[in-house]
C-alpha cells in the first residue's frame, strides 16, 4: 500500500464542495462563521442590534452568522444549533416577525431588523407566551432541543395567521425538524395557542 497524504484529499474535497456551491455544509466554513477570531485584514465593526426589544451593541465579524452572535456574543443560548446548515430549524428566530434560520444568515444583514428569540417571549412577570403555554399544555416538547425553534416558528405563524387550521399549522411549521417525532403534539400546542390567543 502506498502511503498517502490526506492533505491532498482534504483540499480536493473542500475545493469540490465550494465548486458545487454547497458551502454551508462544510465544517471549516461553519467555524469561520462563528467569528471567534478576526480574519487578517478584515474590518470588524461594532453594530447595534435590536434583540428582544433591547438595543445591544455587539462586536460582529463580517462573516458571523446570527446564530453565533446570539449564542456566543449575547449569551442567548435558547437558540439552538442542530445542523448549522439550514436543514433543521432549531435555530429559528424572528426577524421583523418572519421566522428565519439564524444559522444561515449573517448578523450584519440585520442591523436594522427587529430580532426576537425564545428568551424574549415571556412577559416580565413570567407569564408564558400563548405558544409556550400551548406547548406546555400539549406536552409538545420531547427532548426539547428543537423546541425553541418550533416555538419561534409557531409565533411567526400565529402573527401572520392567528387562527390557522391544523393543516395550515402543519405547513407553517414544516421548516422545523423534530427527530423525536413530536409533530402531532406540537400541532396540538399550536392549536391550543391559537385558542389562548
Amino acid at each position: 500500500m502506498q502511503p498517502v497524504n490526506p492533505q491532498l484529499t482534504r483540499r480536493r474535497f473542500i475545493k469540490g464542495v465550494i465548486a458545487s456551491g454547497a458551502v454551508a455544509g462544510t465544517t471549516s466554513l461553519w467555524y469561520a462563521a462563528n467569528g471567534q477570531s478576526r480574519p487578517a485584514g478584515a474590518v470588524e465593526r461594532m453594530i447595534r442590534l435590536n434583540v428582544n426589544g433591547q438595543d445591544r451593541t455587539v462586536d460582529v465579524a463580517p462573516q458571523e452568522t446570527l446564530a453565533s452572535t446570539l449564542r456566543y456574543k449575547l449569551g442567548l443560548t435558547g437558540t439552538k444549533l442542530g445542523c448549522n446548515r439550514g436543514e433543521c430549524g432549531a435555530c429559528t428566530v424572528l426577524v421583523d416577525d418572519v421566522p428565519t434560520y439564524a444559522c444561515s444568515v449573517l448578523t450584519h444583514s440585520f442591523k436594522d431588523g427587529r430580532i426576537e428569540t425564545v428568551e424574549g417571549l415571556e412577559a416580565p412577570d413570567g407569564t408564558l407566551h400563548p405558544v409556550q403555554q400551548g406547548f406546555v399544555e400539549a406536552l409538545g416538547p420531547q427532548c426539547g432541543y428543537c423546541t425553541p425553534g418550533q416555538v419561534m416558528a409557531a409565533v411567526g405563524l400565529l402573527r401572520a395567521n392567528p387562527n390557522p387550521t391544523r393543516e395550515e399549522a402543519r405547513q407553517g411549521l414544516a421548516g422545523n425538524l423534530c427527530r423525536c417525532g413530536s409533530y402531532d403534539s406540537y400541532l396540538d400546542g399550536v392549536m391550543r395557542a391559537a385558542e389562548i390567543g
Binding site: G25, C143, G144, L173
Partner: protein
Amino acid sequence: MAYMHIGKDFVPPDVIGKVTGRIRYAEDYTREGMVYARLLTSPIPHARVLDIDASEALAMDGVYGILKADEVYPDGEPQSTGLKILTNHPTLVGEPILALAAVDEKTAETAIAAINVTFERLPFVLDPLDSIQEGGPNAFVDGNTFGQQGFTEAKWTADQVASFRAGNAPAEDAPTTGPIPTFSIGDLEAGFAAAEDGYIYEGSFTTAGYPHHSMEPRSAMAYWEDGKLYLHGTSQSLTALANDMAGIIGVAKEDLVFINAATGGGFGQRARAASIPSMAIPAKFSQKLNRPVMMRITREEEFTIGGARQGFQGWIKVGFRPDGVMSACDMFVVSDNGGKGGGADAFSAADCISILYQTEAVRFRGASIATNTAHRGAQRGPGQNQIAPIIAPIMDAAADALGMSRLDIRVVNSAQTGDVGGPQGTPLTSAYMPEALRQAADDFDWEGRQSRRRQRSGSKVTGLGIGQGYHNAGRSGQDGIVMMGADGRLKIHSGVGNLGTYSYAGTSRAAAEALKMPWERCDIITGRTDNHLPITSPQDGSNSIFTNTRTCYGAAMDLVAKMKEIAAADLGGEPADYDISEERVHQIADASVGMTYAEVAQRAMELGGRYTGEAELPEDLHEWTQIAASRLAGTAFMGIYHDPAHSNNPPGFTVTCTEIELDLETGKFEILDMVSIGECGTVVHPQGLKNQLVGGAVWGIGLSALEQHLYDPQNGLPASTGYWQSKVPTYLDTPARIDTGWVDLPDPENPVGARGIGEPSQGSVSAALTAAISDALDGHIFGAAPITTDMIINHISGTREDAVALAQNNYRGV
C-alpha cells in the same frame, strides 16, 4: 386501582425550561478560560496512521496543544471493535484521529489544516456480502467479524454469495458468526410440514441502515477543579452512563461530576458510555492543558460517531397452518455491523418473531459482518423494528391465501398472559395483545374500512395496513433513594436520564404514589451526579418505566416502613398498627394518634443510624449507589432500596392501523389516517405515552419509506451526513393527526402495573405502512425497508426492482 398520581397527566419540571430556552444542554455552558477543541478525522474509510507531523500547527498563535490516540491509550488501543476515543486505525470516514485545542475554533481549524498525517491506505468494503465472499476485502486488518475469539474472518464461496444475493435459501452449512449466530426453538421440519396444507412464504429481504441523527450533536465541555472532573455532556442514562464513563476516562467514580440536565435525543445511541467515548476527549484534554475545554460536534461528525441502525440482508421462510397459526419460521440474516462493531439486531429480530407471533418453531441463523461505514449501535428497537415491516406483508399474504381476515390472523398468533417466548422460553410478565388488536381495530373502524381496500380513484389507490410492534420493556436489579427533610418534602433522587421521554419524572411519581404525597410537595433531584443519585439501568430497551418505578416505589416503601417503626416506638403499638395518609403516619385504629411527615422526618434525623443512611444499608447496593448514599448519609430521613433481580420478560406491545392513498403515476403515497395503540401495562403518564406513540410513528414512517445510508462506492464517503440527505421525516411526511390509545391493564410484576413502550411504537407503524403499501399494490411484497417511491414506480412499470441482488449502503439494486 385508583391511583393518586399514576395515570394522570402533570407538568414535568423541565418542560418550562424547554419552551423558554432556559434549560441548558452541554454546549450551552461556558467557563472562564475555556478553549476549543476540534477534531482531525479520517478522510478515508480504512487506514493505518503512519505519522503525524503537527509541528507547524503547534507553532501557531493561539494553539494550546493536541491530543492523540497514544496519549489516551498509553497501553495501546483496545483490541476490539467499538468506538475509540481517538484512533490510529480508522475503519470509517470521519473517525477521530486527534484533537487540537486553540483559543477559538477558527484557529483550531486552521491549525488542523496544517497537520500532516501520513496514512497507509487499507482495503475497504461497504457491503457485507462483498466482504463475506472469499477473497473479498475485510473492514478490519484482522478480519470482518469480532467475537469471543477476537477478530475472525467469515467467508462464503462465491457461489454461496451469488445464490444468497439472488434471494435463495442459504446452504444448511452456511457459516454463521456474530454476537448470537444461531438459535432454534421447536421442531422446524414438523412446523413446515404442518403448513403444507396452509401457506408457506419464502423470499429474500433487505433493510437499510441509517443514522440516529439526534438533534443535539454530542458536544461536551470539561474542566478539572480540586481533583474532580466536571463533565458537561449528553446521555440517555444519567448515572448508568456516568458510572461507565468514569472507567473510559480513567477517573475514580467519586471524582467524576457528570452534568446532564437535558439531552437532545438519544434513540439508543447515548444509553451507554461505550457508544459515546468522544466525551472523554475534552475530559482528557482539559486535564492535559489544565484549562476548560469545549468540544463542539458538527452535524457531519454526529453522523460519523453518532451511530446507525444495522442493515439486514436476509432470507426468510414462514409457514402457516390452515388455521392461520404460524407454525414455523426459518430466517438467515447477514447484518451490516459497520466499521466499529454493532449488536445483535438480527437475533433480536428472530426473538421478536418468536414472542410477537408465538411461532411454534423458529430457527435463526446469521452472520454479522463489518463494513467500513458508520458506527452501528442500538437504535430504537434494534432488530425488532427491522423485521416488523418485513413480516407484516407476509402475514397479510398468509391471511389472503387462507381466507382469513388480516386482523384475525394476528389475533390467532398473538401473545397473551401466560405465554413464553424467545430461545429460552422466557415467560412474559403479562401480555394483552388480543385486546390491543381489537382496540386498534375498533378505534380505526378496521372492519368498516375494508370496503375501501384497493379501491381506485383516478391514479390513486387505497391501501389498508395493520401492524404490530414488540420490544422487551423492563429490567430489574437497580437502586432507589428518597430523602425527606424536616420540612416534610419528599426528594426523589433519580439517576434516570432526561432524553425527552419524561420517564425521569414519571417513574418518580411512583415514589409519591407510595407515600401518598401531593406532587407539589415533591422534588425530583437529578441533572448532575453530585446530587448523589442512585444507579439505574442504561436507558435503552424501553425499560425505564418498569425498572425505575420499581426502584422509586421500593425506596418510598422503605421510608413508609421506617415511618411506621418510628411512630410505633414513639406513640406505642406495633408498626403494623400504623398507616399513612395526608402526609401523616398514624394509628389505623385512631387516626388522631400519629405524626406528620415533617415530624417523623425530624425524629428520624435525631435517631440517625439506619433512618438516615448511616447504618444498615441494603445489601447488594451498586457501588455507584453506595457512593451516593454515603454522601447523603446523615443529612435527612432516607428511604433506600435495592430491587432484586427478576427473570421474566415484561413486554411492550403496540398495534397500528393505517390507511394510505398511493398514486400509481408517481409512486408517492399519503397517509390518510393512523391509529396507534399501546399495550404497556398500567399507563403512568398519558401525555408521555402519547408522545412515545406519535414519535415512534414518525420513526416508523422513516424506517418504512424514507431513511437509508448511502455511500460513495468508489471512495467510501458517506452521502447522507445531514438531515436533508438522510430524509429524516418532516411535518409534511407525517399525517396531520395521529390518533393514539392504550389498553391500560396492569402488569403484576410491577408495583404500579407499568411496562415500557418507546421502541415498539416504531415497529407497529413501519409494519402497518409496508402492509398498506403492499395492499395498495395488490399484495405485492417488496421485502424491503424502506420502500421508496422509485421502487414503487419500478414495480408498477414492471421493472423487477425487488428481485435484483441484495445490496447494502447503496441504492437498492444499483
